[in-house]
């Protein structure tokens, strides 16, 4: 196994972490958007409370992904960024407005002010747009739709749009929503919010059903739209795809059995296997059908140095992250004041 492949595997692991954690925060924004009626405000507060302590740490996985790609695979990064200028710029605007909208609505001094309501909407709408355009961009790469050289204006304008990339974009939103719904069910259960448990459980069931339908559609479209992906899937990734399907089913089973912690675990595994299936299907290309992983990689000496840095960095970050989640997520303390505040 070459150092480039090791490096890509680590970047991919960061990608999985971003989707499983950061993606769920976008999904929560989608549910925030869909919340309506008299309970909407309480739902918004619930979502704010769950996201508050962790969303920034979750967001940093994206930074990890960006700097990892830029410095371990500089050629690929430069190509993504120039060929996907439009969808990535839109996603960037979404990322910025999501974060700003969330922080502004959380810290606004008056809860019912006009500005607060507006930023709340900005938060939820950008939570929907961002995963869509990131999904579209990812699909454009997987489908071999971006050129590594000689990019024309038409390529930049419409090269990334296809039925396949749009389907993947929608599926990305659905997957984020599923992740969020499952986590929020578990969170509501842990906090004793009975009414939210039932509501999010139903949402989780519906959205994971939607993911299955979209998943089948995307794979069917890939036969013609992403032939390299499809042949790679048949050749060496069908085991992972099978694993993804099984994990998806286990999520449904656990939701029906009301085992929410296990449902959270399986939805993370499902997400991980889904992304691993994609990566393995694409092998050995980083940008099919031209640029392989080895061609896109930095010099082996540089990669080795950065891998060492990566290991040291992770040795500091992972225990810290574990501590953060232990304090806020796995041992919920509901004090009397908190109950009153609700």
């Amino acid at each position: 196994m070459s150092v480039a492949l090791v490096a890509l595997s680590l970047v991919w692991a960061g990608f999985i972490a971003y989707v499983a954690l950061g993606g769920a925060d976008f999904g929560a924004g989608v549910w925030d958007l869909l919340a309506s009626g008299p309970a909407a405000r309480r739902q918004h507060q619930f979502i704010s409370r769950v996201l508050g302590p962790v969303w920034e740490a979750n967001h940093v996985w994206l930074i990890f992904l960006l700097v990892g790609l830029m410095n371990l695979f500089p050629t690929a990064f430069a190509t993504f960024m120039s060929a996907l200028f439009i969808p990535l710029t839109i996603a960037l605007v979404g990322i910025v407005l999501r974060g700003a909208g969330f922080i502004f609505r959380t810290h606004a001094s008056q809860d019912k002010s006009m500005g607060n309501r507006l930023w709340s909407r900005v938060f939820s709408i950008s939570s929907l747009l961002t995963p869509f355009f990131l999904g579209v961009s990812a699909a454009a790469v997987a489908g071999g739709q971006i050129r590594t050289s000689g990019i024309t204006q038409t390529d930049l304008l419409t090269g990334w749009i296809s039925p396949f990339s749009v389907a993947v974009g929608v599926m990305a939103v659905a997957q984020c929503a599923t992740l969020a719904a499952v986590y929020l069910t578990a969170e509501a259960h842990a906090q004793g919010e009975k009414e939210f448990v039932a509501a999010y459980r139903l949402k989780a069931l519906i959205s994971s059903g939607l993911v299955s339908v979209l998943g089948i559609l995307c794979v069917a479209l890939s036969v013609t739209a992403a032939p390299w992906l499809w042949s790679g899937l048949l050749a060496h990734a069908f085991l992972y795809v099978g694993g993804t399907v099984i994990m998806g089913l286990l999520v449904l089973v656990m939701l029906l059995l009301k085992r929410y912690r296990l449902a959270s675990l399986f939805v993370i595994l499902e997400t991980a296997l889904m992304l691993i299936s994609w990566g393995v299907s694409q092998y050995p290309y980083l940008i099919p059908p031209k640029l392989t992983i080895e061609q896109a990689a930095n010099s082996p000496a540089m990669i080795t140095t950065m891998l060492v840095a990566l290991l040291i960095g992770m040795a500091i970050v992972l225990p810290s992250l574990f501590y953060l989640f232990r304090v806020f997520k796995w041992t919920p303390i509901v004090t009397p004041e908190e109950t009153q505040a609700q």
Binding site: A57, M70, P74, S82, L324, E337, A341
Partner: protein, 452 residues
């Protein structure tokens, strides 16, 4: 707007916005750490009340710093793909390490901001250390990448290919110590003066009490330490630039001609067409004295270099430099006067309204100084993005819609800035809660700290 100009404008706007807001993300956590530490040591709840107030502001500022930093990481690729291809091969390490430092900062900030009731006071205080340490580290890493763009090192170009890369030499490039220390100090100078300005304003409005006094004194104490050091390191920077980046140095001093014993030209319009600096105040032999402690030192002017390598905004580089220096000395004067009067009159110093106004004014002045300093660094390096190796015009994206994206981002930044300032003003206007004990201060406003 031409694509290159639009891309530079978008990058410049993004950097200016990011620098201003994220420097508080580096400066404020140290204040949090000191104030909470003092609270635990002295059992005085006022210190903790200060920390709790500042923590709320940090939450907002850090989040905005984080999103604006994300914009920069994307824009490096979106606007300058060729640059990332080059830089990624050589100076990737500090970018990667910056990512980790930022990670640690975000994690412990989450613990700190939301953990007032969930952690013991001591553990909570300890959580403030990783925040300011990794905040400073992440600034150090990212500025070392910038200093590499000014004095590239750690690689060889052979047959048009980058080879013999040494990532450590790239990080420890010649201008790294000068740039990083100058900017780290700047974080504390700006944070302390802006905070001092807020309390000075409260005193002007007739507010009195321990809370405001402690806030003002701590802020001006940090300012007293950081400001002279900042001016000293600024001087080191200028001397270094005269050797390492003589073109940038000539542009910032407005030296068109190579001279022996050049005067110090303060202000004025440096006109590259005529090679003259109009309306400047000239101090004979001043520049030579500052550089060499000698009346007739030899200083290379812009005429010693090919005009295609001149920065294309020489008048701005010169004026930005002088504005930075002027603002810095104004801040130094204010802080020295304050402590002089404090030494002689103790608490009555706050009755001097002109001094309070001076403190209020020094806050924005230091922020202006930081932006001007970066204008000198970045505009002074033009036409290069990687000095001597890659021209900015060769690094820009082929996508032709940068004018449009520039417009979009300007609107976003305006919206963010307006909302952020309104929000911070709202936080400041909230009445001070009456607290008697440390325990009470730790557990106050649970619903607020839970983010509801």
């Amino acid at each position: 707007m031409e694509n290159l100009l639009a891309a530079r404008a978008q990058m410049g706007t993004s950097l200016a916005f990011h620098i201003i807001f994220s420097l508080f993300g580096i400066g404020l956590p140290l204040f949090l750490c000191i104030a909470e530490g003092l609270a635990l040591k002295t059992k005085n709840p006022t210190w903790l009340l200060l920390a709790r107030r500042w923590a709320k502001a940090s939450a907002v500022l850090f989040a905005i710093g984080a999103v604006s930093g994300t914009i920069i990481s994307f824009e490096l690729g979106l606007l300058w793909p060729t640059y990332t291809k080059f830089a990624g091969q050589v100076v990737g390490l500090p970018f990667l390490l910056e990512g980790f430092a930022f990670f640690v900062e975000a994690i412990f900030l989450g613990l700190y901001l939301y953990g007032w009731n969930r952690l013991s006071p001591r553990v909570h205080w300890l959580c403030s250390f990783p925040i300011w340490i990794s905040g400073m580290l992440s600034a150090w890493f990212i500025i070392s990448a910038n200093s590499w763009m000014n004095t590239p090192a750690g690689f060889v170009i052979r047959n048009g290919q980058i080879t013999d890369v040494n990532p450590w030499q790239a990080i420890f490039n010649p201008s790294m110590p000068y740039e990083t220390i100058h900017m780290l100090l700047a974080c504390f100078v700006v944070t302390s003066f802006v905070m001092a300005g807020i309390y000075a304003f409260a005193f002007l409005r007739g507010k009195r009490g321990e809370y405001y006094q402690k806030g003002l004194l701590l802020a001006l104490l940090i300012a007293l330490i950081a400001t002279p050091l900042q001016i000293f390191t600024g001087d080191l920077n200028a001397r270094f630039l005269a050797q390492a980046q003589p073109v940038k140095f000539a542009a910032m001093e407005g030296d068109f001609q190579t001279e022996n014993g050049p005067p110090l030209r303060i202000g004025g319009i440096a006109d590259p067409q005529t090679g003259q600096v109009y309306y400047a105040v000239e101090i004979p032999h001043g520049e030579s004295l500052l550089l060499y402690l000698n009346l007739d030192g030899h200083v290379r002017g812009l005429d010693a270099f090919a005009s295609q390598d001149w920065p294309n905004a020489i008048p701005y580089v010169h004026l930005s430099f002088d504005t930075m220096v002027g603002c810095g000395f104004f801040a130094l004067l204010v802080v020295l006067l304050f402590w002089l009067f404090f030494w002689r009159q103790k608490q009555r110093v706050i009755e001097r309204r002109w001094l309070l106004w001076g403190i209020i004014l020094a806050g924005p002045c230091t922020a202006v100084a930081v932006i001007c300093g970066w204008m000198v660094t970045e505009m002074g390096r033009q036409p290069w993005v990687i000095n001597g190796f890659l021209r900015t015009s060769d690094a820009v994206t082929p996508a032709p819609w940068v004018s449009f994206s520039f417009l979009v981002f300007v609107i976003i930044y305006l919206l963010l800035a307006i909302t952020l300032i309104r929000l911070l003003l709202g936080l400041m206007r909230q009445p001070l809660p009456q607290v008697q004990s440390l325990v009470e201060t730790y557990s106050m406003g649970l619903e607020e700290s839970a983010g509801v």
